[in-house]
């Protein structure tokens, strides 16, 4: 009887000891979350870490996994991070197309002189304040690299 009791308490003690020694999920989660860059969500269940969110590239994805794996108490890492899709570069009109379109767009603004060079539309001359927005709207639709506005606004 005594032996059984002793064994029981030994088992309980051992369980408590082990439990206190093994990091809790919440603690692991907090620790990993603190080390991961912003935008990554860390969830821990029974020592299994799940990473979700969006990162810039493969390297960042791998790095996030390493950080999680290095944490004490982590059994495995489920890397569900996604890579942010790259934005398509801005399309700029060819000078020949742009020159023609700029001429069309500014036909009704006789006081405005234009020059097109390497995708940049340079505006000189003068314009009435009320017409400036219209002119800029027309030109911005032509896919220029830049509109250099040197107009004198009256």
């Amino acid at each position: 009887m005594k032996t059984t009791k002793f064994l029981m308490s030994a088992v309980i003690a051992a369980t408590l000891f082990l439990a206190s020694c093994k990091p809790k999920d919440a603690d692991i989660q907090a620790a990993v979350q603190a080390k991961e860059p912003a935008g990554i969500t860390v969830v821990v269940a029974k020592g299994d870490v799940t990473l979700t969110g969006e990162v810039a590239d493969d390297a960042a994805k791998a790095k996030a996994e390493e950080i999680a794996k290095a944490e004490k108490g982590v059994k495995s890492v489920i890397n569900s991070l996604t890579i942010k899709p790259a934005q398509a570069p801005v399309v700029i009109s060819e000078d020949t197309t742009l020159t023609k379109n700029v001429a069309d767009a500014t036909k009704d603004f006789p006081t405005v002189k234009t020059e097109v060079k390497d995708g940049v539309v340079i505006l000189t001359g003068e314009i009435k304040k009320a017409s400036l927005i219209t002119l800029m709207q027309h030109l911005s639709a032509l896919k220029p690299k830049k509109i250099e506005n040197k107009l004198t606004v009256k």
Binding site: V90, K100, D104, K129, K146
Partner: protein
Amino acid sequence: MALQDKYKALTDAAIAAGITDLAVREQDGILYIDGTAADGATKDKLWEIYNQIDPNFTSGDLVLNVNVAIDVAVTHAKVITQSSNLNIRKGPGTDQPIVGKAAHNEVITLVNRSNDLWWLVRTNDGEEGYCYAQYLEPQA
């Protein structure tokens, strides 16, 4: 990043206005904002904000290309020149001969909008040709 901060009020307004296909990209020191607005008023509102941030558009650090969405079902457009008649040309370009004119505020028939800048139209008199799209306002 500084440019995106400078025009944050504009991009926030674009998001709030529900601009579709909104793309905000920075390339070689210039910010490009592209998208489609539901109507002309929304587009004009964004341009007002742009004008507030960069009075008279003198900085040359933003290209704001927001078009107005057009329902495919739309068949008519109003001539929105400042006061003059709108030239109707044989082909898409100001180098093309003038084949007719549409009056200011006249509502004309849209035949084809496959060219973004020049729309093929037909007047009530039956004249057909190309008009500069910026001077046409699609009628719902």
